[in-house]
Amino acid sequence: MATKAVRPKKRKIAVRGPGKTPIKLIVNGETHELLVEPRRTLLDALRKDLGLTGTKRACDEGTCGACTVLLDGKPIYACMALALECEGRSIETVEGLARNGKLHPIQAAFIEEDALQCGFCTPGQIMSVKALLDENPNPTLEDVKRAVSGNLCRCGAYPKIFKAALRAAELLRSGS
């Protein structure tokens, strides 16, 4: 029972379209110029226009969390944001976590604890955990549960997702 719908705050945006319009997206620190229809969601822009298919779509209506990315550091459902709304803001996706071929501690912890089965919800879970740990390096089990309560996992990897998040917090605190 998803409880925590994370939707971006509505901002005033200039009227664009109809038809494709140019926008600039800053994804994982890189700026991309693309041409999208105003109705294109951030999720589809990432996946289809930028080829960043790590972020998944399982509902397209803000009910599953598979599409979770960070917008200015806060977790959002990328299917619930228009690409236009995210122009000029910092977008972080699962592809941006590993650096120089080295996994981020959250990713390493997910593997070690086996916090995934089919792996389809995993990028979203990882981004929700990332948002939590960025804000709270020392979370309790309850904090973790709440942080991922908007991310469904049909395979039922939850117990191990909790463990992985706590282990990742430990790894990050110890600076590894």
Partner: protein, 776 residues
């Protein structure tokens, strides 16, 4: 020379005989003395890095140059004839490349003739009517709204009991009962059995329709290159999809390739060829461009299968001491509009307990609702809920401890065949589970409910929380079966590649196969890669269902690795000029007392230029004289809030026996996952169909309630972990389905224990709890 023999196999409660070709020598399962480096070890998933970085390419992620998107128009009516369909306006929309419907698509028979790819009769809300192929998904969606369809509405029936009445409208031309008759099993003499009983308990149980909701929806990408078709499909059976496509499209097998690299869950719903796959192939043919069709969440919940609802009339007779004398089940299953593989709801009644007189009768009924499909232990989850609930009632009536009653009726042999079980660790599972759970202490008080009642406040105040405990047991196949083939190639650099045509549906198959090969070869696991999920690899493996992947494919991989190792030893002995028997392989190094120091395999093979070792393996037949099954027991503790009706599962203790454990880490994920799905099924999952329109009102994740992070109880589990030497050369059996089987039953028993009242219908919603407590 290859030998053709007949073997008996069991798949999801259905037993059948088939021919298999066996070649080569068998291997026996490792004994307790063999030191094992990889088998039984916690090895993290070898494909973990791809999955956590977003690099793993699921079918949903496949994007080909020039790729178009298909969107399917679905019937808004539960039963109708399409009088006319006008696609002109849709076709004229810029960006639309093709519109397919029964008017221009070939009339292809589907589901054994129960429907056509595009049928002129639609039989449920969500049935396929037409498909738009367009440059973008959004355009295809726009175009769907421009298709004009005139329907002649037909009378419909949604309820399976109503559908059985003579005056009910026919969903299928041949009538509403699958095969025109019930599926009946009988042993002993039922009347005599009931006449010998001191007590007869009879109840009617109902279970709901549950939706799989795999996070990756069903879908395919189709690409034609000349007259050859390649399809990426989110499927549990690449070879089945290949065979189905070839047959429907009139293609030879070598012109069809099916690929499934990663998939976002299946749970049984992706066992066969879907209409969307064929439509994608036709659309790609018509447009000359690759076509992708992924169902959206709503379509997924209408048209991609479900665990069907059941009505089960169950009657049990027992002597005063608890000995069962007779068991009778009459089950009605709501198949939906089509069904070719009915679940076996009577399986648990036939197999779980020792009982000489048993009859099960199953009516699988067509209705104008979305069609069923296999769903993790189909039939057994439903059947176990009823049987294990009734066993608890019987125990209550007879004033016997529920666990004791089960032990009293313990079956040492498979009563459907008369064969002894190869191994059966259920007694141990009961004992270990009871101990872990503290069953005795929690149930010792003569009135467990009062004993466990938690006071809501000061003494004398009305309690608002009731606590209860319950348990249930599980039987399932999980034996695996031939045919399954593998090869193991040893490359000149001392690495090895396992090749087989199975698929990893999220269970960790790749990792487990790498462990098996590494163990048998004596190579470090990092030197093993596993190639699966592509029919072009050429090595058949069965569908990944029925908890049978490891037990079917694993033994073939071990045999292939064994043969590769033999070849390696032959070659190495000659190159190194040492006696073959003196050579050993460990950690990728060749050693022999005749050698000064160990030699890397690479150093031997590289002397032979590009020589390559290829070992072949085929799954052996199943044993003829024993029954190979999996078992388990689960214990649940719940609290029920008497004010809100909310059930909270506090704790689940599970002990299962699936033979040898190959990877405790990935196995534990499957156990937890099964229990969590079972919890959702017990408490809140339920498809709701509007009685007046046949519309599914909760075909989304907002209103169809899946378990979330906040619903997860404490889960404690252990495996009996004893190799089954008769099962196959690994001693391992399946574990994918067993853990979901007893969970709902155990929770329901715990809730009945808490309330002192039993609810005979799943899910145990707040409304039902409050009703039972007479609070609404």
């Amino acid at each position: 020379m290859p030998k053709v023999i007949k073997t008996r196999t069991e798949f999801e409660g259905h037993v059948f005989e088939e021919y298999v070709v066996v070649e080569g020598e068998g291997l026996s399962a490792w004994d307790a003395q063999t030191p094992l480096r990889y088998i039984g070890r916690q090895i993290p998933r070898t494909d973990g890095p791809e999955r956590v970085t977003g690099k793993a390419v699921y079918t949903f992620d496949v994007q080909l140059p020039g790729m178009l998107y298909g969107k399917i128009l679905r019937s808004p009516h539960p039963h109708a004839r399409i009088k006319s369909i006008n696609t002109q306006r849709a076709e004229r929309l810029p960006g639309v490349r093709a519109v397919l419907s029964f008017k221009n698509a070939p009339k292809l028979s589907f589901r054994q003739g129960q429907t056509f790819l595009f049928d002129e009769i639609v039989r449920y809300v969500g049935d396929e009517v037409a498909c738009v192929i367009a440059d973008e998904e959004e355009i295809a969606e726009d175009a769907l709204e421009l298709i004009e369809v005139e329907y002649e509405r037909l009378p419909f029936v949604l309820d399976p009991e109503e559908a059985l009445r003579p005056e009910a409208p026919n969903v299928q031309p041949s009538g509403n009962l699958l095969n025109g008759k019930p599926d009946i099993y009988e042993r002993g003499d039922l009347d005599r059995g009931f006449s010998q009983a001191d007590l007869i308990v009879e109840r009617t149980f109902r279970t709901q329709c549950a939706l799989h909701n795999c996070l990756e929806t069903h879908g395919s990408v189709a690409l034609w290159e000349g007259d050859a078709l390649t399809v990426w499909d989110s499927t549990q059976h690449i070879f089945g999809v290949r065979a189905g496509l070839a047959q429907l499209l009139g293609l030879p097998l070598h012109k069809v390739r099916v690929i499934k690299r990663y998939m976002g869950g299946g749970f049984g719903s992706k066992n066969g060829l879907g209409k969307y796959t064929v439509i994608a192939a036709l659309g790609a043919k018509a447009t000359g461009r690759p076509v992708k069709i992924m169902l959206d969440r709503h379509e997924e919940n209408l048209a991609a299968g479900n665990r069907p609802s059941t009505i089960q009339h169950l009657k049990v007779g027992a002597r005063r001491d608890g000995t069962l004398t007779a068991l009778e089940l009459k089950a009605i299953v709501n198949a939906g509009a089509f069904c070719t593989w009915p679940p076996s709801v009577g399986g648990p009644a036939r197999q779980l307990y020792l009982c000489p007189n048993v009859k099960t009768e199953q009516y699988t009924v067509f209705t104008n609702t979305g069609p069923l499909s296999a769903f993790r232990a189909p039939g057994y989850v439903e059947g176990t809920f009823a049987l294990e609930s009734l066993m608890d009632e019987l125990a209550h009536e007879l004033k016997i401890d529920p666990l004791e009653l089960r032990l009293k009726n313990y079956a040492e042999i498979d009563q459907t065949t008369g064969r002894p079980y190869s191994t059966k660790g259920l007694r141990e599972a009961y004992e270990r589970g009871a101990k872990l759970f503290g069953w005795k202490a929690l149930t010792s008080n003569p009135s467990p409910v009062a004993h466990l009642r938690e006071r809501g406040g000061a003494v004398g105040e009305r309690a608002t929380k009731l606590r209860g405990v319950g348990m249930a047991s599980q039987i399932w196949s999980g034996n695996g079966m031939p045919p399954a083939y593998a090869i193991v190639k040893i490359n000149p650099d001392g690495t090895a590649t396992v090749v087989t045509g199975t698929q990893d549906i999220g269970t960790g198959t790749k990792t487990v196969l790498a462990q098996i090969a590494a163990e048998e070869l004596g190579f470090p696991i990092e030197k093993i890669s596993v190639e699966i999920g592509d029919t072009q690899l050429g090595l058949y493996a069965p569908l990944s269902a029925g908890s049978m992947t490891v037990a079917s494919v694993g033994p073939a991989v071990r045999l292939a690795a064994h043969e590769a190792r033999q070849q390696l030893l032959d070659v190495a002995a000659q190159v190194l000029e040492v006696p073959r028997e003196s050579l050993a392989i460990c950690d990728g190094l060749l050693s022999s007392p005749a050698l000064k120091e160990a030699v890397a395999i690479k150093d031997v093979l590289e002397k032979l230029e590009n020589f390559m070792i290829i070992g072949r393996g085929a799954r052996e037949p199943n044993p003829e004289d024993v029954a190979v099954n999996t078992f388990g027991a689960q214990f649940a503790e719940v609290t029920v809030d008497t004010e809100t009706g909310e059930v909270k599962v506090e704790r689940i203790v599970a002990v299962h026996d699936s033979g040898r454990v190959i990877n405790p880490l990935t196995l534990s994920s499957q156990i937890e996952g099964g229990i969590i799905q079972g919890l959702g099924y017990a408490l809140f999952e339920q498809r709701v169909v509007d009685r007046n329109t046949g519309v599914v009102v909760n075909d989304n994740l907002e209103n169809y309630k899946l378990p979330t992070a906040l619903d997860i109880p404490e889960i404690v589990f252990e495996m009996v972990d004893r190799p089954d030497h008769r099962a196959n050369n690994l001693g391992a059996k399946g574990v994918g389905e067993p853990p979901i089987i007893p969970t709902a039953a155990a929770i329901a028993n715990a809730v009945a224990n808490a309330l002192g009242i039993r609810i005979y219908e799943l899910p145990l919603t707040r409304e039902k709890i409050l009703k039972a407590l007479k609070r609404v």
